[in-house]
Structures are given as C-alpha cells and as structure tokens.
C-alpha cells in the first residue's frame, strides 16, 4: 500500500546531503516529540540506507536520492529510494566473512535490520532499490496524514535555473515549521552564510511556513532550493491564484513594512496555469 508521505525529500546522492536527511529527521523529532533514543536509532538506520545509496547505487557517481517519511502513530515509516543499479545487487550479498574489509563494508543492512522494527528491500520500477523501514515510536505523537483525495501526487516545483538543487514536499504545516528552518540553516551554512545571515534565513523559513499555511493549492507545501556559492534560491508553491504576491504583502507589519521582502534580496511570482510559485533569493551578505 503506497501511503502518501508527510514528507518527501529529493536530493542528489552526495555524502554531504546525508546531513540534510539527518537535519530533517531532527526537525521531525521536534514536531512529534520523539524520544531521543529512538531518534538516534532512526538516524543511524536511515543514514546507513542513505550512505548505501551514496556509495553503491550509481557506481560512485551522483544520482537521485529520495527519502519519504510517513509519521502516523504508533509507527514511523521511512523509505529511502534510488534509481540506480540498486543496492540489492551489491550490498545484500556482501555478507560473508571473506575478510573484515567486506564485513565492514556490508554491515549497513544488518545495522538497519537491528534497528528497525521491520525492514524491507525491494526493486523500484524502472531500476533502483527502495528500503522501507518501520520504527516503533512509543512516546511520539502522530501527524495527520495528508488527505489522499486532496492531492494524489506530490507537487513538483519547477527548479529550472537553480544549481545544485534539492526539493521537499511537506505536510502538515506543523511539520514544515520544525523541518524547514533546520534545512535552510544547514544549506545556508553550506553556502558560507555568516551566522547572522543564517539566523535571518531561519526567520525567513518561519515566515514562509506561516504565510503559506492556507494559501496552497495542494495538501503539501513544495519547496525547491538551489544552493549557489554565497547564495540560496528558493521556490515555494503551489500557491492558489493570487496568493504568491499576497503572502508577501500579508507579511507586512505596520511600522516595519513587508517582513518577508526585507528578509530576501529578491522575490518574484511565476504563474503557471491556475497555480503560482514564489521565487526568492537570499545572499550570504547584503
């Protein structure tokens, strides 16, 4: 049964992007009040699955890495997917005692099995592998699952013109509120932002989540992020007709002006059919 995830992260399978997955999990833990021990287990298992994609899926090259999170209580489901040759052929058979080297290289799977309540490995249609991990989360709260009638597909945010992109789709906004600031913080750090500019980026994340709540034309908030040297570019959507411009104006505080516009260096509205995208760019220095 394909569950609609609360969160999907689409990234390149680079080692430093595993950090973004971990930051996402930390944000999730905050949203559902996850036990720190359980977070450590989940972090370790999911990092193993992601590292396997980084190392094995594309024969040393980069390719797409997708992470889905379904946060319905009492269990938390995380899927890690690649579209390469898959980890099935390489890692799953690397389980011999033919020397310690191999044993160490192939411990990812046993680690996942030891930490997840249930783990499944399957082929992805058209090539690739999917690892599905279920974790028991005794004390955590559940997030409302996105309504499948609302939006059967996750929104795709146009990322043309963005370099080194990642995208995420996320619902409900309670989850976006804890995940997006962490992700933007990690990305701003990567783009060599100073700490005060990183803090501004987090203010921006707060503001975006608050202002887009109720303005989306889909169940999920979609965010595409481009990381250039000393610059972040964001695309936010899909927004209902007229809302992209409105959320900038709505952020106005008497005596301060439009807070959202003050936090970015440029913003632009793109209309595509009946939905709109808000493009924003933030520089490491002003």
């Amino acid at each position: 049964m394909a569950e609609i995830p609360n969160l999907r992260l689409s990234l390149a399978s680079s080692p430093e992007n595993v950090l973004l997955v971990r930051q996402t999990l930390s944000g999730l833990a905050e949203a559902i009040d996850l036990d720190p021990l359980e977070l450590n287990d989940i972090n370790t298992a999911v990092s193993e699955a992601c590292n396997n994609v980084v190392v094995h899926a594309y024969e040393g090259r980069e390719g797409p890495l997708e992470v889905d999170i379904c946060a319905g209580a009492p269990s938390l489901r995380v899927l890690v997917r690649d579209h390469g040759q898959g980890i099935a052929s390489t890692v799953m058979t690397a389980d011999g005692d033919d020397g310690v080297e191999q044993a160490v290289g192939g411990i990812g799977l046993p680690v996942i099995r030891a930490l997840a309540r249930d783990a499944e490995f399957r082929d992805v249609e058209g090539g690739g592998t999917e690892v599905q991990m279920d974790f028991a989360t005794a004390r955590a709260g559940a997030l409302e699952p996105p309504s499948p009638t609302d939006q059967p597909r996750l929104p795709a945010i146009a990322s043309e013109g963005l370099t080194s992109t990642m995208a995420l789709t996320i619902a409900p906004s309670a989850l976006a509120r804890t995940v997006l600031p962490r992700l933007l913080c990690a990305l701003a750090a990567r783009a060599h932002f100073s700490t005060d500019r990183i803090s501004d980026t987090q203010l921006l994340a707060d503001t975006l989540v608050a202002q887009t709540d109720g303005s989306l034309s889909a169940a999920h908030l979609g965010v595409a992020i481009g990381v250039a040297p000393r610059k972040l570019e964001l695309r936010i959507g899909p927004l209902r007709s007229g809302r992209a411009g409105a959320i900038v104006l709505d952020s106005t505080v008497d005596g301060l002006g439009p807070v959202l516009a003050r936090l970015v260096d440029a913003h632009e509205v793109t209309v595509e059919g009946s939905s709109e995208t808000l493009a924003l760019s933030v520089a490491a220095e002003r």
Binding site: L19, R22, Q23, S26, D35, P36, L37, N40, D41, N43, T44, S47, E48, D95, G96, D97, D98, G99, V100, A103, V104, G106, I107, P110, V111, R113, A114, L115, P181, R182, C185, A186, A189, R190, H192, F193, S194, T195, D196, R197, I198, S199, D200, Q202, L203, D206, T207, A210, D213, G214, S215, V253, D254, G255, L256, G257, V259, R262, R286
Partner: protein, 269 residues
C-alpha cells in the same frame, strides 16, 4: 535475535562455498568455543575489532565520547564471539552486528543517555556561542559555520546542531538568568541607555495604532533596527550589548507574536 535470521542465512551460505578465510575462522571459533583456547579468542576479537569500531562510530553520532561507546561495542563483540554458533552456517558478521548494536542500545538506555546527551549538546552549544562571539570580535563580522567548525575542531553537522539548539524556539536555558525571554530582556535592560529613549520618542506615534504596541519596548527596538534601519543581527547585538543568538531568538519570538496577533483566518477557495 539470531534465530530469526537463521533460516534465510542458511540458505544463502549453502549457495556459496566457504573460502579459505572462512575455514580459518571456523577453526578459530572451534578452538575457542570447544577447547577454551584464549589465544584463538583474542585473534577473533582483534580481527573483528574494526567491525565494532565502525558500528560504534555509526551509532554514536558524535553524541557520546567515542572511547566509551567503543568499549561497549567491544563488549558486544566479545559476547558475539562467545555465542556465535559456527554450525548454523550464517556469517559471523550477520550475527555480530545485531549483538553489538543491541549492546549499545542497552547501554544508552541504562546509562541515562537521554539525560546525559542533552547536557553534552548544551555544553557544545555554549562553546559554539562563545566561539561565535570571539570570532565576531576577531573578524569584525559574524563568522561562518565553517570558521567555527575549524576553530572548535568540530564537524559542520555538530555546529549546525548547536546553532539549532541555540536558536530553538523554546528559550534555551543556557543559564538560569536567561531561562526565559523576560529575564533575558531584564538582564540587558540596564545596558541600554540614552539611545533607547531616543528611539522610544521617534517611534511613539507610529506604534500607537500598530500591533507593535503589544510588544515590549526592547522587542520593538530590535525589530526596528533589523527591518527599518536594515542593520545586521550582529550590529544590533553590538548596540544592545547582547549576543547575536539572543537577537535572533528575540526576533523569532517577536515575529511569531505579531503573526499570532494579526492572524486573520484565510478563506479557502
């Protein structure tokens, strides 16, 4: 734990002939488990120590002193070496990994890890905060995460985590005085003097009818410096005699309060 994997593992091993290395391992296990040959046990432990080390590194995620965790992992390895049943046919590592991971999980649970680690993380956050302030003075501007990581010999991820902790929306109780926003304001209230009053007069008219009037004067002042005068958070911190992180937390809190005050329900459709 091992019994669950035994059936599939047996199947796998039957399709693969045992290599010379595998035979050598089998001999070592027999020497230790049947004949009590301690030298064989030691050879096995030394041989698989990289596995324990690798698992400790993976599971610890920099939150526990690595040496402590390695000790726990080594204990798990010893147990695995003692209990592994070579006749079952599955590989040693497929038995040892869950045993070692199980040992580390138990250790985390029993040692009150959930209590200790936030404390360790808090100490690191304080170091990051101090380093940020020191580097700001040295460089004359706010440092990057890379610069802080280099100075503290920490991984980027650890600094990012520390920043998240420092900027956590729930006031991060760095010390008792700053346990909540109100006291944070009180503690630097005295350091803000004449400048403050000047701002007060200028902004009085503008704010009387605005939602800003619901905020305290320091909160308004910081918001104005950031959004009207377009000062950086570091510049605001210098003027207010507080840290940039305090400015950041104040701004987050203030903006959130303003949103709550002005929130009008958005009509769908």
């Amino acid at each position: 734990m091992p019994s669950a994997t035994a059936t599939t593992a047996t199947k796998m091993s039957s399709t693969r002939p045992m290599s010379g290395d595998g035979l050598e391992l089998k001999r070592l296990f027999t020497r230790w488990q049947r004949h009590g040959d301690r030298a064989a046990r030691e050879t096995l432990v030394r041989r698989f120590m990289p596995l324990a080390r690798s698992l400790a590194r993976r599971y610890g995620s920099s939150s526990e002193p690595f040496e402590d965790l390695l000790q726990v992992a080594s204990l798990g390895l010893l147990k695995a070496v003692d209990r592994y049943d070579v006749r079952r046919g599955y590989s040693f590592s497929s038995y040892a990994v869950p045993t070692i991971v199980g040992e580390m999980r138990r250790y985390f649970r029993d040692s009150g890890w959930a209590v200790h680690v936030p404390r360790g993380a808090q100490e690191r956050a304080l170091k990051v905060r101090d380093t940020q302030e020191r580097l700001t003075r040295e460089l004359g501007r706010a440092p990057t995460v890379n610069q802080m990581a280099q100075r503290l010999e920490l991984h980027i991820e650890e600094v990012v985590d520390a920043l998240a902790a420092l900027q956590a929306y729930e006031a991060f109780s760095l010390d008792a005085r700053q346990a909540d926003g109100r006291e944070e304001l009180a503690s630097y209230g005295e350091s803000v003097g004449a400048d403050d009053e000047r701002y007060e007069l200028v902004e009085l008219d503008a704010t009387l009818a605005s939602v800003l009037s619901h905020l305290g004067s320091h909160e308004r002042l910081i918001l104005r410096m950031r959004f009207v005068e377009d000062l950086t958070q570091t510049e605001i911190a210098a003027r207010m005699g507080i840290s940039q992180m305090q400015v950041s937390r104040q701004l987050r809190r203030s903006l959130d309060r303003l949103r709550a005050l002005t929130r009008a329900p958005v009509q769908a459709g």
